[in-house]
């Protein structure tokens, strides 16, 4: 961080906030999250840098947007501050302005650019009928050869092989919870992004996952970590 006397409106200090978004908060969209943080910044009393224009607001840049229905323990938000304040103080102030399910993990000076994000690791947990080691093996095998799926984009629907965007995928059966657990790292960032829901859809369509009642069969997705283009943990 810059020395106290050198931080000003003209020369604001960049700050990175790592936070989690779990539990109920998985149902809050990215847009709503942005609106929420505008208020969080105000009520935390952090000296955030404001845009100048017609409708001034705290300048915020988020890392990789998270889909609704997906939880995360590695979300990133960059802001700038116009007065000196220690990272600990910023973290403590944010904590009072947040909840257990949307909470600050760490505050520090950015080491990498948000545009350098290249991959994300997810855990997918399934409570599905007939879960067993055999089914886990089948699920793992499914992604070892091309899986063609339809992807809706701006230019209409196109067919893609989602395995091209899967960097690694491990699948196991957990007998204790009777669940199938997938640990996967997929492309994420500006060049290309694989929404982990596509993996769920592939399992649903091709292996009959989650085909029964939604009360007895369900799944959850947790974003565990983000990496840069070189595969290093994002900082």
């Amino acid at each position: 961080m810059l020395p106290a006397g050198m931080i000003s409106k003209e020369n604001p200090q960049p700050i990175r906030i790592k936070f989690k978004k779990v539990g109920n908060l998985q149902y809050i969209s990215h847009l709503d999250l942005q609106r929420t943080f505008e208020k969080v910044i105000i009520r935390s009393g952090i000296p955030a840098w404001y845009t100048m224009g017609f409708n001034p607001h705290a300048k915020m840049v988020f890392g990789l947007p998270l889909s609704v229905g997906c939880q995360s323990v590695c979300e990133y938000l960059d802001i700038r501050i116009t007065e000196y304040m220690t990272f600990n103080e910023i973290k403590a102030r944010l904590k009072t302005a947040l909840t257990d399910e949307l909470d600050v993990i760490e505050v520090y000076e950015p080491q990498m650019k948000l545009t350098d994000i290249g991959a994300a690791r997810y855990t997918l947990t399934f409570e599905t009928r007939g879960a067993c080691e055999d089914l886990a093996d089948k699920a793992k095998a499914l992604f070892e050869k091309p899986v063609a799926m339809e992807k809706k984009g701006k230019a209409g629907v196109k067919e893609i092989d989602i395995t091209k965007m899967i960097k690694s995928l491990d699948c196991r059966y957990d007998p204790e919870t009777d669940r199938i657990v997938i640990d996967t790292t997929v492309s994420a960032g500006q060049a290309e992004t694989l929404n982990p829901e596509m993996i769920v859809t592939a399992l649903r369509e091709q292996l009959g996952f989650l085909s029964e009642d939604i009360l007895t069969e369900h799944y959850s997705i947790m974003r565990e970590e983000i990496y840069n283009l070189n595969g290093e943990a994002f900082r």
Binding site: T36, K39, R43, I214, L215
Partner: protein
């Protein structure tokens, strides 16, 4: 969160409506036994609307301020969620704890508009609580209603155990504490409790303690308490001193966008005006103001605790606040610096000034709304909307000077004594406003004006001088709408109107008596919900329900009620006397206006309720 519930949220629209977990919600520990009563505060419409209600924000805080009470929230699930809940047999739960409403001690509903009645019943059904008060057992929740519609609670009499009449901050706490005491004694009997509460708690109306008989012509023959110790009339409660009344210092912060996603600062209660169609202007009397010092302190505290960057100065007619100048100046001392906007929801044309407009940051919107309500001065005098054409022209002039180009004008059709001239006056006034734009030398150059006229149908409401009036039939109102439409010739004028069919049902429910309960029960059985929403309101189905239950809707809506009739809402005393309403009704037909409370007291009677910082004479 429960995994099953979570699973369902993946398959509905706007799951943020049901997820809870907001910053500012109150969570209490149930394990140490300090919480003695659980209160579920229900808003019978969507989350987005319910979260915007200032009354709910206040009462949620007032109840949770008590250590032994835990108040939680519940809203009407949208149709897609409702379908999932029924399919998977999941009961309606409160957002904070996720516990079903059926295990609460008290379930309260705020009744803001008549068209939400079917949602109330739908929510009770989803909560698996018997619809009728008489069918509930001792261990089931007490169902209490409140809010403006509870001033005529009769159409809901069978479903609610009791109603809180008037302002609930103190009353609901007293009621809940009494319930805690009585339950602690053991052998709790709900009917005995309700009877006891009706004698102890002022402002509590328990419909099952009253008997109603009807005459052959269908009007009420008698209406009175069954027991001698139950009050013949229930007088509404008010907070006497608004400076000292509880006002929340925080807000449950929604993640998803809501209708009023901002700080709502309640500046004063009541209204000095006395428009003769307006129920709010009568039932919230007497006027009681807060001081600018208190308001400024509350605003600042809310800003710091919420992070909202907009403060709406809330009241029935904000420009009538005696210290508006001082308040806005005092607020601007810090809001400007913090980039916080002030907004005003309601403006009267006669007090809309350049100075006031400059202080409110309506920079974001280029539109301003005014409510002349009627097209001619004659009819504006009849309804006592003391606004003159010159006032409107002056007000729009200020707006055009400031570069605004769009103006919205609210009107009503079907008002008592209305003639074709009055209807023609609506498009004419709009065209005159367009003309005002072009003759204004300071108008924004190179732009053209847009004047929108929005015409609502008059609904005669209880506790207004027009409470006895006949409402025009659906056909008459439809013809009038068409007539106005044909006479909108100015291309700069856009015309929209309300649906007369909705207004008709609204009138039936507003002036209904307890015989309407059977129609509402039938509507609930047929799965009615969201009748305030065009996509769910189905007039033909309502007609079928009335036919099936032997109710003649015209009896309630399209009949001139007799002045000596016992009215279903006579059991409630809102402070303003029936004699005053009668007097005002006669003055309306004589086209005589009545001065505002500040100019001259008209003896409405509300001063008997007391109150600080009011313009009323001592009772």
């Amino acid at each position: 969160m429960d995994e099953k519930y979570s699973s369902i949220l993946k398959s509905v629209q706007k799951p943020g409506r049901y997820s809870g977990g907001e910053y500012g919600q109150t969570i209490k520990d149930l394990s140490d036994g300090r919480v003695k009563a659980r209160f579920a505060f229900c808003f019978p419409d969507t989350y987005e609307i319910g979260m915007s209600n200032l009354g709910v924000r206040i009462l949620y805080g007032a109840l949770n301020r008590e250590e032994d009470i835990w108040c939680e929230r519940a809203y009407a699930p949208w149709a897609d969620m409702e379908e999932k809940m029924i399919e998977h047999d999941m009961p309606l739960c409160a957002l904070e704890s996720g516990d079903p409403l059926s295990m609460f001690d008290i379930v309260g509903f705020t009744l803001q508009y008549e068209m939400c009645y079917t949602n109330v019943l739908q929510m009770l059904k989803l909560a698996k609580i018997p619809l009728k008060s008489a069918d509930r057992t001792n261990d089931q929740p007490i169902i209490i209603g409140g809010g403006p519609c509870s001033y005529n609670p009769e159409p809901l009499a069978d479903f609610f155990d009791c109603f809180s009449i008037g302002e609930g901050e103190d009353m609901l706490v007293e009621f809940t504490k009494l319930l805690i005491e009585e339950k602690a004694k053991g052998n709790f009997d709900r009917q005995e409790f309700l009877h006891y509460a009706a004698t102890k708690i002022k402002g509590l109306y328990v419909p099952s303690l009253y008997e109603v008989t009807y005459k052959e012509d269908g009007t009420i023959g008698s209406f009175g308490p069954i027991y001698p110790d139950v009050p013949k009339r229930v007088t509404k409660r008010i907070m006497k001193d608004m400076d000292k009344a509880y006002f929340p210092d925080k807000v449950v912060m929604p993640y998803i966008e809501t209708v009023q996603d901002r700080i709502m600062l309640e500046v004063y209660r009541g209204c000095i005006r006395g428009c003769r169609f307006c129920q709010a202007g009568m039932i919230y009397r007497p006027v009681r103001e807060k001081t600018p010092e208190v308001l400024c302190r509350q605003a600042k505290c809310l800003y710091e605790n919420t992070g909202y960057d907009e403060i709406s100065l809330s009241s029935l007619s904000i420009s009538d606040y005696t210290e508006i100048e001082k308040l806005t100046t005092k607020l601007l001392e810090w809001t400007d610096d913090k980039k916080v906007n002030l907004s005003l929801p309601s403006l009267r044309v006669d007090s809309f000034t350049k100075e006031l407009m400059e202080k409110i940051a309506s920079v974001r919107s280029s539109s301003l709304t005014f409510a002349p309500e009627a097209g001619t001065q004659r009819l504006r005098d009849v309804i006592n909307k003391n606004v003159r054409e010159e006032d409107l022209f002056r007000a729009v002039g200020v707006a055009f000077d400031a570069g605004k180009t769009t103006v919205k004008l609210y009107f009503m059709n079907g008002l008592p004594t209305e003639t074709a001239d009055d209807l023609l006056g609506i498009p004419k006034l709009a065209s005159d406003v367009v003309h005002q734009f072009y003759i204004n030398p300071n108008r924004p150059k190179g732009k053209s004006p847009q004047v929108t006229i929005s015409v609502a149908c008059f609904v005669p409401k209880p506790f207004t001088p027009f409470q006895w009036e006949r409402q025009d039939t659906v056909e008459e109102l439809t013809e009038k709408n068409e007539y106005i439409y044909q006479n909108v010739t100015d291309r700069k004028v856009r015309y929209t109107h309300h649906d007369p069919k909705t207004s008709h049902i609204e009138c039936v429910l507003a002036r209904g008596d307890r015989r309407l309960c059977r129609a509402l029960e039938e509507a609930a059985n047929r799965g009615f919900h969201f009748d305030a929403w065009d996509e769910y309101f189905d007039y033909d189905k309502w007609v079928e329900v009335f036919e099936a239950t032997g109710i003649d809707p015209a009896f309630y809506a399209n009949r001139q009620w007799g002045f000596d009739e016992i009215l279903p809402w006579d059991v409630i005393d809102c402070g303003v006397s029936k004699e005053f309403f009668r007097r005002e009704r006669d003055r309306a037909y004589g086209e005589i206006t009545t001065p505002s409370c500040r100019e001259k007291c008209s003896g409405c009677g509300a001063n008997k309720l007391g109150g600080e910082r009011t313009c009323c004479p001592q009772a």
